[in-house]
Amino acid sequence: MASPPIEGTYFDGLSARPHPVILTLEDRLEIAGRDLHLAWTLSDLVAGDTVRPLMRVGPAGSAARVEFTDEGLAAALEARCPDLHRTDPAGSGGRLRLVLWSVAAGISVLLLAIYGVPAIAVRLAPLIPASIESRLGGAVDGQIGRILGDPPACDDAPARAILDRLIDRMTANASLPVDLSIGVRRHAIANALTLPGGRVVVLSDLIEKSATPDEFAGVMAHEFGHVAAHDPMRALLAASGSSFLLSLVLGDLTGSTIIIAVGQAAISAGYSREAENAADSYSVEIMRRSGGDATALATILERIAKDDEHGAFASLLRSHPFTAERANRIRAMAGTDTIGRRILDDADWTTLRGICRNVPGKATKT
């Protein structure tokens, strides 16, 4: 089954000099040129990745090759050497295995990011030195301010004095790990955010939406519960760790995802259900001890959740799970003996509600 002789070019792999040759396909591939006579065993031949009609073949593992442009010889070679294209590394079997392994690896990293990192963060958060935690808190505070559109600080002096006295009373003997630093910002979202380093940011609409001082104090006590449990630091560590891991897999090492994720985590306070329940219990205990209505937290939670159903209210508390369940739990823990108690008298509460008196204009909506 000899095919007609074909003109080709032989390269010896040692120099780039082209050697014009005549190719003949017999039992072996015969290569004949000036001062040159080679015969390559067909089963050894490997074809390179070229565009037809150009074809390049050479023995496997050798740098020598011949190039020719003849469809007939190409077809004959392919018929005689079924393994001609064997080294194609993108072969479909290899690709399927590669895809399956990559998917498995990706899922494994994903699971690590979702479950493993938070577990590490829980253990790591209490070990962070207070000075570093407070510096981080400052950085996150600045970022939160930017996200919320730099809301002005509410600092009416008489109201501030009442707030400070109230906080002192609530946190006496509370043995918080860090000193609290509480700031009120004028903003049309009813929420309080706890940041690393004992920073609590109260958005003024929370005070507006509170029907009684105990509702406001209950939310504050809940936030102190997060401070006591190092929750913000834990969330920050978990969020940055997870996004760092994910950015490795996704190949984004510039850190942009980390910065975004840290901000998102801080603002949505994506704590676990256990952390929320613990903070609720903490709130009940504080309210009970400092002479307030321990069920008021349940009342304000239900009101804010109800607002949510109308969809008009952009409360960040929405990210906290199972409002009704939480309210029931709080009421069960608090009992009925504290209902109707007031943590502040009416005069002080009215003053406190005016804490944004020092900031002119209406609250800004985001």
């Binding site: 390269f11 792999g13 040692l14 082209p18 390179g48 990745d49 009609p53 990559s102 690896a105 996704l250």
Partner: protein
């Protein structure tokens, strides 16, 4: 594919060799579609194999003096290199992070510090990546290579960049030429060393176009503005906006109709006009630079010569841009029309879901479409433009190239480049 084999009739050293590229691009869309989709489902890990496939495609369809190029790199090598690079980079990131939070005075410089470190590493990685690609490139069975030191290259790059900053950009073409000389002078084909005679002087004219088109009008408008305001810009030119956010300002209406307002508006208009014009100049500069660099490259008696025109660099971008505009318009029409139809049908929630579904399909489809279009239109056409406008003078001299017994660099060389996201899959102009 006009000249698939070397023309043996003319074997004299005066012979002119051609570089051709198969413009039919058959099979390229398949590679791009598969690469995009598999990268998507494998969390991006497939990209190393995708890049390898693309390189094999482009190398094998570029025919230099009758013989096609050959890419022998493997996706696995790139992936392993990436893993090693990650292992090197994580401690660096963690060290920067810890340094910025534990040393307070360092905190404001944290981003500058990490930028500097990553810039130097990035230059290092670019050079190492090029070494990998060279060592995986064969032509007529001869392996290419690159020696030289990536540390030297990174040091040169940072030194030149600082000089460029200090000279307001005037040193930029000299930096480009100097780095090109270093790259080409350390590029080997077999055991023959290439050489580049690229000079910053020859790049100066195209580079100065940016100054003429962008900087001069801005400077002129700014000086006019300064003269109009008697070289003192009033403090109350911008006043806090009433009812606006803190830090938000508006133009003080007291200055309406004064020369300050007029020339201020001219200044802003100049900025708005010349900056996009500057962007439009980039392909022009790139084309000129590529032509000058190609013309400067040689291998012994063999010289490269390029007739690249700037319009060959503009055309792919124009086609790509028009396709994006067309696609967005079409998608908007389809989604809007579909929503309108469903809305008229009375099922409001159905319309909502249809829009969401349409947007997801449109987004994924659009991303796929543009990934394929980018490879076909921009990558392939730029590659073809550079390749087909280049000819080899004294091509007979190539016969003297001998293979080298040099050690072949490992895939670790390119991992850092991928981890740092520098250096594309295919660098046009090599």
């Amino acid at each position: 594919m006009t000249q698939p084999l070397a023309d043996h009739a003319r074997t004299g050293t005066e012979r002119v060799g051609a570089i051709t590229f198969d413009r039919r691009l058959s099979g390229l869309s398949g590679i791009a579609i598969r690469g995009f989709l598999l990268s998507l489902v494998t969390f991006g890990i497939y990209r190393f194999w995708y890049v390898t496939e693309l390189r094999r495609y482009f190398w094998s369809r570029t025919i230099v003096d009758g013989s096609p190029g050959e890419y022998t790199g493997r996706g696995k090598e790139l992936f392993l290199g990436f893993l090693v690079a990650i292992a090197i980079l994580i401690p660096i990131y963690v060290a920067i992070f810890i340094a910025t939070i534990s040393v307070p005075w360092l905190a404001p410089f944290g981003s500058i510090l990490s930028f500097l470190i990553l810039f130097v590493l990035g230059q290092f990685a670019i050079y190492r990546g090029r070494r990998y690609r060279a060592s995986r490139t064969l032509w007529r069975g001869i392996r290419l290579g690159q020696d030289g030191s990536a540390i030297t290259y990174a040091a040169m790059a940072i030194g030149w960049s600082l000089l460029t900053l200090a000279t307001l950009g005037l040193a930029f073409p000299f930096m480009r030429a100097s780095l090109e000389r270093y790259r080409i002078d350390h590029t080997l084909i077999g055991s023959s060393r290439m050489a580049s005679s690229a000079r910053g002087r020859s790049l100066l004219l195209p580079w100065l176009m940016f100054y003429v088109v962008v900087l001069l009008p801005i400077a002129a408008a700014f000086i006019a503005f300064l003269v109009a305001s008697d070289f003192t810009i009033p403090d109350d030119l911008f006043v806090p906006k009433e009812g606006g956010k803190p830090g938000e300002t508006q133009f003080n209406s007291d200055y309406n109709g004064t020369p300050i307002a007029t020339f201020g508006a001219i200044l802003m208009g100049t900025l708005g006009f010349t900056l996009p014009l500057g962007l439009l100049l980039i392909p022009f500069y790139r084309a000129r630079e590529t032509r000058i660099f190609v013309n400067a490259a040689s291998l012994g008696p063999v010289r490269l010569s390029s007739t690249l025109k700037a319009r060959q660099f503009y055309w792919p971008y124009i086609v790509y841009l028009l396709s994006i505009i067309g696609f967005v318009l079409l998608l908007g029409l389809v989604i809007g029309g579909g929503a309108l139809l469903l809305h008229a049908g009375g099922t409001q929630s159905g319309a909502h879901w249809a829009i969401v579904l349409g947007m997801i399909v449109g987004y994924l489809g659009g991303a796929l479409f543009f990934a394929v279009l980018y490879v076909r239109v921009i990558t392939a056409r730029l590659w073809a433009a550079v390749a087909t406008t280049t000819t080899i003078e004294n091509a007979g001299g190539l016969d003297a190239v001998l293979a080298s017994s040099r050690r072949v660099g490992s895939g670790l060389n390119e991992g850092l480049a991928d981890a740092l996201d520098v250096g594309g899959a295919l660098e046009v102009g090599f």
